[in-house]
Amino acid sequence: MHEILTVLESDARATPERIAALTGIPEDEVRAAIAGWEADGVIRRYKTVVDRDRLGDTRVTAFVDVTVAPERGRGFDDVAERIARFREIRAVHLVSGAQDLRVEVEGSSMKEVADFVAQKLSGVDRVTATSTHFLLRRYKDDGQLLIDPEPDQRLSVMP
């Protein structure tokens, strides 16, 4: 059944009919499995991987390492959830290492991101320090290489 998800992860537009042809799982079972996963929240949404550089998108992304003073009984959960609710925040992960949370911030300009970090993120209760790394170029995103594919050098007919 995970075969169905493998197909959907590489092509969110694959129809149940096509998934059935690719996996050999009957179409009605494919439909039922997908409906089940959608209901359970296993499938959160269907997305498109966009190469923003190629699009000419000038939005700015930064990865911010956040140090947090954890709360008795709740650990990092409350702070992480408060941070995650900001519209500007694209991702929040609790990580091992010197800092606690690694978050992804997006804004229309460097100044906007900088202002967000300085005024909002660092002001969240129990956030004690931040360290901001602006993204310069994406080479691979979501498992998708964004550099040019290698040319197919195979000859057209070979034994």
Binding site: L22, E150, L155, S156, V157, P159
Partner: protein, 388 residues
């Protein structure tokens, strides 16, 4: 005056590969979707390439010992033990070659005396019968039955055995049919080989690319080990065709003779490719698993698509080929392939290049990106529609 004495009669008598003509024709055209390629469309996994680059910087530019790097032979033997329960000694029963192509040539030259017969189940890989002839042997083609999924039928083979029969040479999974031979059929063949005293030359280059069951290695069936020459390599499973690295495993007496030819003709397989092969065996199995899963999805979609076009084939259990019958089109396989290429720009390989019994079929490789496979099916549909 130009040289008058005849060139090699054996080679001159051998017609050039029928694939060549198609290749030349396809080369002159643009926009061709090719299902004619016998190699993966994936590049070699990056970790393997990275290790080779690193090895070059450290000077892996020399000859290696004739047998190949010991670490590689140890890994090959451990891999065969783990996957197929086969025991070969790295020291003297395993030889690293420049691909299965070299291994095939070595095996035949080590086994054959002039006039020895080698039974080749057909349709067969294009090199088998010429290599038998080049080694001084006589190829004896035995057609397999498409209605039985091209299984190796010991009874059919027995009917072709003579006192001169020295070996049966076959590939499983097969290029061009995709047929993967069962343990039962291989056991029956091994029993026949023991009774009639001949060798089994088993090309298992597609052994990791199986979809409907697990691969049975010929040497692993009862009574086969001591009369089997196992040919395998890295080209197909690990997408490493251009590296030219493979191996042969065989009992010591025949391995020693193969080693002797190899040391005088090839010296050794490319050093950097051997390093890459080591890395492949150590770390690239997850890449293989992903590629196999991808081939399997394409296989299902493509075989179903062919079937809907009336181009039926037995379900291919391995490799990355479908070998559908094109009899419903009323065309010969050469005409079908030529007209399909000219009218719809889809390249397939006419089945008769794999032996006369391949007539009425074409070989289609599904080692082709999914969107292209789907386009190819559409074009083939239009081609057939125009003939209804």
């Amino acid at each position: 005056m130009s040289p008058q004495k005849p060139l090699s009669r054996v080679v001159e008598a051998m017609p050039p590969s029928g694939i060549r003509k198609f290749f030349d024709l396809a080369q002159t055209m643009t926009g061709v979707i090719t299902l004619g390629v016998g190699e993966p469309d994936f590049p070699t996994p990056w970790g393997v390439r990275e290790s080779a680059i690193h090895a070059l910087t450290r000077g892996a530019t020399t000859y290696t010992g004739n047998s190949g790097l010991l670490e590689l032979r140890e890994l090959i033997c451990a891999d065969l033990e783990a996957r197929h329960g086969l025991t070969y000694r790295p020291a003297d029963e395993c030889l690293v070659t420049s691909g299965v192509s070299e291994g095939l040539d070595l095996a035949l030259r080590a086994l054959l005396n002039p006039g020895d017969e080698v039974i080749v189940p057909e349709p067969s890989y294009v090199a088998y019968q010429p290599c038998v002839a080049f080694a001084g042997g006589v190829p004896v083609p035995v057609p397999a039955d498409p209605a039985q999924g091209y299984r190796l039928d010991a009874e059919r083979i027995a009917a072709a055995v003579t006192p001169r029969t020295k070996a049966v040479l076959f590939g499983s999974p097969s290029n061009p049919t995709g047929a993967a031979q069962s343990a039962e059929d291989l056991t029956a063949l091994a029993a026949l080989a023991a009774r009639e005293d001949f060798w089994l030359v088993s090309d298992e280059i597609y052994d990791r690319l199986t979809y409907t069951g697990t691969h049975t290695s010929t040497a692993a069936v009862e009574g086969a080990w001591e009369r089997t020459v196992l040919l395998n390599g890295f080209s197909k499973s690990y997408a490493m065709t251009g590296w030219r690295v493979g191996y042969v495993c065989a009992p010591e007496p025949v391995a020693a003779l193969m080693h002797r030819i190899h040391q005088y003709t090839m010296l050794c397989a490319p050093h950097v490719s051997q390093v890459a092969a080591i890395e492949a065996l150590k770390s690239a199995d997850p890449d293989v698993t992903e590629m196999v899963a991808d081939y399997d999805r394409r296989r299902r979609l493509f075989v179903k698509g062919l079937d809907e076009l009336g181009l039926t084939c037995p379900e291919p259990g391995g490799a990355f080929y479908a070998f559908p019958s094109i009899r419903s089109s009323g065309l010969s396989s050469q005409d079908f392939a030529e007209q399909l290429l000219e009218e719809q720009k889809v390249a397939v390989v006419p089945g008769d290049v794999f032996g006369p019994s391949g007539e009425g079929h074409v070989r289609c490789s599904y080692a082709t990106a999914l969107p292209l496979l789907e386009q190819a099916l559409e074009r083939m549909g239009r081609f057939l529609e125009a003939r209804r």
